[in-house]
Symmetry: C2
């Protein structure tokens, strides 16, 4: 196929090598639209870069992305560490590829603030998927600034859509803020849980359950089948205790075994039913619009911050005030109001 | 006592009524230092206000706050809904007051984004505590902007310290981002859990457990005593699986019954031991400094955003671009870069 000639081939590298220094936005756009994975990866790296010129180029590439890729589906997947997210995504991904879809898998993992460790990241676990030419796997976008991670992830989604990937799976590790972020940039949100004795709802945060559109009990295999059935039943009961959703959707609970490869049809059925539910109620397009507005606002906040701190007198003042705060010479309230007055004079 | 003459008294209202229109920063500062609860509440309301003149006054009041209140202790408390946080805080609070301390209880609860409901907020449950003159209870600081909630909560902590409260308890509902926030503005972080059969760690997010300095198994009473003992043992075991902490502290696990009023001494012992551990290693003052730096940076981000959007041409452009995004006439990447260029010209 003509438009795949660059994928995983020497030609791609050659093309890239030749054009590395000269490739401009239109070169990237052309390559990405031709499904060139190397150029797609490079463009994503540009989005993640903190260099100003990189981001400028990234913005030009993104201007070509149609923000209304209504034929794509953005799926967010969360679940506690150990629940088997990677194996599940590999299972789901291969199923979708067999159905003729092209899929991209991204991950959001703001590294643990305490131990600075990364829980995700090892995408090599998705061995089959990563070798498939209809799959694009992008390792963890991480960083200390959640705002930056959010911006580049949303940009990455659009770039993948530009490259013809129809289903974008965004995985997030189930810790804190990243779930809200991923929820705010996807159409369907899946919560993965695993069977276990006891009160199934205990410990799983109400706020996360509230966000889920489909709940999947993974590891329904071996001697855990009975527990899985119980977990499924108690979640199905528990979701009725949650407040009525504004979109009138009744959360569906499914179970599967990523190991024994059972249950993915039911899960995909739930996802598709939800998508159709949204489309019928004209909520799908609304969701996309609100994703766009979220991006716009987040991106402005980050961008303004960057613009202001590019000013050397501000940068210097911030550094000085930080030192004074650390030395106890000024309290942070006074420091902040002093600096804001300085910035106001600039405007 | 002279400096308590205004508390809960007609005199306070009179004082306030007389000065309502004219009270300036020094009036507030004087009143707060005299432990006037009404003025303290009013100053907190000024911090939470979105009106510019209110915040200006708040800033002036805060400039008098000594950022290095080393004699105070800031305790963050989290736990899933239903774990009994309010009852526990009432129990702990009364215990501390009996020990001769003055305590303030604040709450952070960024309302559930989905149902817009508030889980905390009903501080009237702390009936005994709220009547005690040595306790100051401030209902939920909530809001759609987490940044704003963060700023006003940190300001509130300082105001309470200015008013002589030695122990500041900041409660947060165990959902998502608020735990990171509260962790970043307190000295000691308590995680409350309840006994339950099965794998105790399942479902409680690793990131939250990692943040806890002391873990408290609540509801160790009645027929749950055995389960509580088991939960305590398995958490004590589990914390050894976590990565070594930078501050070299071994998390202590305690159990208590807020209902039967047992166990608070052990919990307070753990908290005090941790505090002394920090002081000995000179980490306590470091923590306070980093709380101050966090505030400074967060406050700048929010403040800059406010300054820029006070400009009418920017405000107008944002509104226009939002409409265009909603109508699909522009993609959010282009919109954001257009606006940032406009802002750059201002600088």
């Amino acid at each position: 196929m003509k438009n795949k000639k660059f994928i995983n081939s020497k030609a791609a590298e050659k093309f890239l090598d030749k054009s590395k220094t000269a490739l401009d936005a239109s070169g990237y756009i052309k390559g990405i639209k031709k499904k060139n994975k190397v150029l797609l990866s490079q463009a994503i790296t540009l989005c993640e870069s903190t260099k100003k010129e990189d981001h400028l180029l990234a913005e030009q590439i993104l201007e070509a992305s149609n923000a209304y890729q209504h034929k794509t589906l953005r799926i967010g997947i969360t679940g506690s560490p150990g629940v088997g997210k990677s194996t599940f995504i590999e299972y789901l991904g291969n199923y979708l590829i067999e159905k003729g879809k092209k899929i991209a898998v991204l991950a959001v993992d703001p590294s643990s603030k305490i131990t600075k460790g990364s829980i995700l990241g090892d995408k090599t676990r998705m061995t089959n998927l990563s070798k498939n030419e209809n799959a694009f796997i992008r390792p963890t976008a991480s960083g200390s600034q959640l705002g930056g991670v959010a911006r580049s992830t949303q940009e990455t989604i659009s770039l993948c859509e530009m490259a013809g990937y129809e289903i974008i799976i965004v995985e997030t590790v189930g810790v804190g803020q990243s779930e809200y972020l991923v929820h705010s940039m996807t159409d369907v949100f899946l919560l993965l849980i695993q069977p276990g004795a006891g009160d199934e709802l205990q410990g799983i945060k109400k706020g996360i359950v509230e966000m889920a559109d489909v709940i999947v009990v993974n590891k329904a295999d071996g001697d855990k089948i009975h527990d899985a059935r119980q977990a499924k039943a108690s979640y199905a009961k528990a979701i009725h205790l949650l407040s009525k959703r504004p979109d009138d959707w009744t959360v569906q609970v499914q179970s599967c075994s990523s190991l024994e490869q059972t249950g993915v049809e039911d899960i995909w059925d739930s996802v598709s039913t939800y998508k159709n539910h949204l489309i019928k109620r004209k909520e799908f397009i609304k969701k996309r619009k609100s994703q766009n507005l979220n991006f716009f606002q987040r991106s402005l906040k980050e961008g303004i911050w960057d613009l202001i701190f590019a000013k050397s007198q501000i940068n210097k003042a911030v550094t000085e005030l930080k030192t004074q705060i650390l030395n106890g010479k000024i309290n942070p309230f006074t420091a902040s109001s002093l600096l804001l007055k300085k910035i106001q004079k600039l405007l």
